[in-house]
């Protein structure tokens, strides 16, 4: 009966695997969810969702699946009047609860329609008709496993309500980005190589050397594994980037705080890169782009951050630079192509949502650099691109 839930979760981007699903089935068949939908909510979350970032997706999927009750509005009105009555709740013992007939969703729906045709009046506390406080599968405030609730509050706690609260909204990865999360993402950017002082005992070589020495112990040390990834961060600090300034700042602090890069360089530019880059975001100091390209060797991984949106002449024309007193002999797009040609691995992170990427300058830059959205998911994909061989 629940298989639909499996696909509902996957539709909400929770990539549940069959093994995990089977584990849930095992747990259910061994009675871990008891008879309560609230327990089921927690049990299936523990077994199917392995990061709090996806809890909100889970809540949405759960809400969609378990509240997908399609009761036509006209029947709803009439039912509502029957159900509007306050009734005393009848407590069921566990045995009686178990013995209630269980129906799958389709049957429940069909039975509901049939029952509705037959039922002509208000009916509360019974076991068959649509009403309140009873054990019929239909109505509200009653007890029936897998029953259909029509308005009102459910009796046995409200799992769907818990899901609808969406407490974990703040943990979503595709919306929120804090420095710590970006740091975690950037840590994947690494390539281990033995460098530095000789610290680790190399057992194989020690044994070999000791044997050669006729048993006289000779300890051989080798250098530790260290990350040798070099990172170059180029950030757009132009006017149109203003709404994203905080986001870019967080990316920068994260990259700066992850001190596992062998080398970390960063420069700022305005809309497009021309003959000069700026080491400080608001500083007057500038450094020639050609010089930067000459100084940094091609294995630097390059992350460019910008909205890539500007007037086409700023990107395609000589002297298209937006700063009035400045000029550029080479068009911005040419500089971008040079960067892409010099460094082996470059990616562009765009804070604008993907649906705006049809803008002419964005699509032109997208031809030069693989472009990703500046969200945790986007950063993850970008890093995969940067580390791929």
């Amino acid at each position: 009966m629940f298989t639909g839930f499996f696909f509902c979760l996957r539709a909400h981007k929770i990539m549940v695997t069959p093994t995990e699903w089977l584990a849930l089935m095992e747990a259910l068949s061994r009675g871990f969810a008891g008879n309560s939908l609230v327990s089921f909510y927690h049990l299936s979350r523990s077994l199917l969702v392995k990061t709090e970032a996806l809890f909100d997706h889970y809540d949405l999927a759960f809400r969609d699946f378990f509240t997908g009750l399609e009761v036509p509005p006209e029947i709803f009105e009439e039912l509502w009047q029957w159900l509007g009555k306050e009734t005393l709740k009848k407590e069921l013992d566990a045995d009686a609860f178990k013995n209630l007939p269980k129906h799958d969703w389709e049957t429940v729906k069909k039975m509901f329609e049939e029952r509705l045709k037959e039922q002509k009046e208000e009916h509360n506390g019974g076991g068959n008709w649509i009403g309140t406080g009873g054990t019929s599968p239909f109505g509200h405030g009653g007890h029936h496993p897998g029953g259909l609730r029509v308005g009102g509050e459910s009796g046995g706690g409200m799992a769907v309500k818990i899901a609808a609260e969406r407490k974990f909204k703040g943990y979503r990865r595709d919306v929120t980005l804090d420095v710590r999360q970006i740091k975690v993402a950037l840590k994947k950017l690494r390539h281990l190589r033995r460098t530095g002082t000789r610290m680790e005992l190399d057992i194989d070589k020690t044994i070999e050397q000791t044997c050669k020495n006729a048993g006289e112990i000779d300890l051989i040390f080798s250098p530790e594994h260290k990350n040798d990834v070099k990172l170059l961060l180029l950030m757009d600090a132009g006017g149109s980037m203003y709404p994203y300034a905080k986001l870019v700042d967080r990316l920068f602090s994260a990259a700066n705080a992850v001190n596992h890069f062998a080398e970390f360089n960063h420069y700022y530019f305005h809309n497009s890169i021309y003959d000069y880059l700026r080491p400080e975001i608001n500083g007057r100091e500038r450094i020639s782009t050609a010089h930067v390209l000459k100084e940094l060797n091609p294995d630097h991984k390059v992350i460019l951050v910008g909205d890539a949106s500007m007037a086409p002449y700023e990107l395609f024309m000589e002297n298209g630079i937006i700063d009035y007193y400045d000029s550029n002999e080479t068009a911005g797009i040419v500089w971008f192509e040079r960067i892409a040609a010099h460094f082996r691995r470059c990616v562009w992170l765009n804070p604008m949502p993907e649906r705006y990427w049809r803008h002419p300058t964005i699509s032109a830059i997208k031809q030069v650099f693989p472009m990703y959205h500046l969200s945790l998911e986007g950063i993850d994909d970008a890093i995969k691109k940067l580390t791929a061989f």
Partner: protein, 285 residues
Amino acid sequence: MEDFTRYSGTRDYIVSEDLQNDVNVSIALGRPLLIKGEPGTGKTLLAKSVAKGLSQELLTWNIKSTTKAQDGLYIYDTVQRLNDSRFGGEGVDVANIENYIKLGKLGEAFANPIQSVVLIDEIDKADIEFPNDLLAELDEMKFYIPETQKTIAAQQRPAIIITSNSEKELPDAFLRRCVFHYIEFPDQELMTDIVKVHFPDLDKKMVKQAMAAFYQLRDLDGLRKKPSTSELIDWLKALLAAGHTTKSDFQKELPFLGALLKNENDYEIAAKQRGAFQRRNAFRR
């Protein structure tokens, strides 16, 4: 529901019902339980409480950045053997390689004929590949020692509790095999229970006041590190030691702020925002 050893919290550790269920599900299904949550919400203490609650031995494997998966299974102490063979170990048979195989924490738990609880603490400290290297061992609960040609297989699947502070992401293949629980920060009600466990005789009114001040502090915007349960407990200890009573007005002044906030920046934020808050209150009065 079927019958098996059940954990239902211990007297010194308050545990939510969901967490209890997850512990029991993880033990029954023989899958490791992965615990995440804000620092100071009692991730590590859970394992101690589970071991105590089930009256089983707790084996703690503290993970460091240099820890290798192999360390948890067994270590072949080559250097010791080399040394003994050269200089003659006292009373040790150098020819017997088994004398130099030392079981790690997981190995010990597998070899133990009685069920035990293994805590793999702060798994995210290790290298990214670390969890992947343990997949087969955690799945089958056995491993092979090539040096002695022996297989160590668990006679009783130990309960495995893994904590993570999410400093690194864990690989999917590893996550698939776990039962996952995220410890949410306790609400005031649960927190009152927790405080009661630590300070059974504390005046109710004082708890209420301290709690209000604590949650107010947690709600401040932009704190780098929000104070957590362990900090609240420390703070209450300090208050008691200094002889604070219900008469202290925490709205006016927060004593021992250093026990709650561990960051210079946070100090400033707290001072500023609390100041504004007090002024507003004074104005209202």
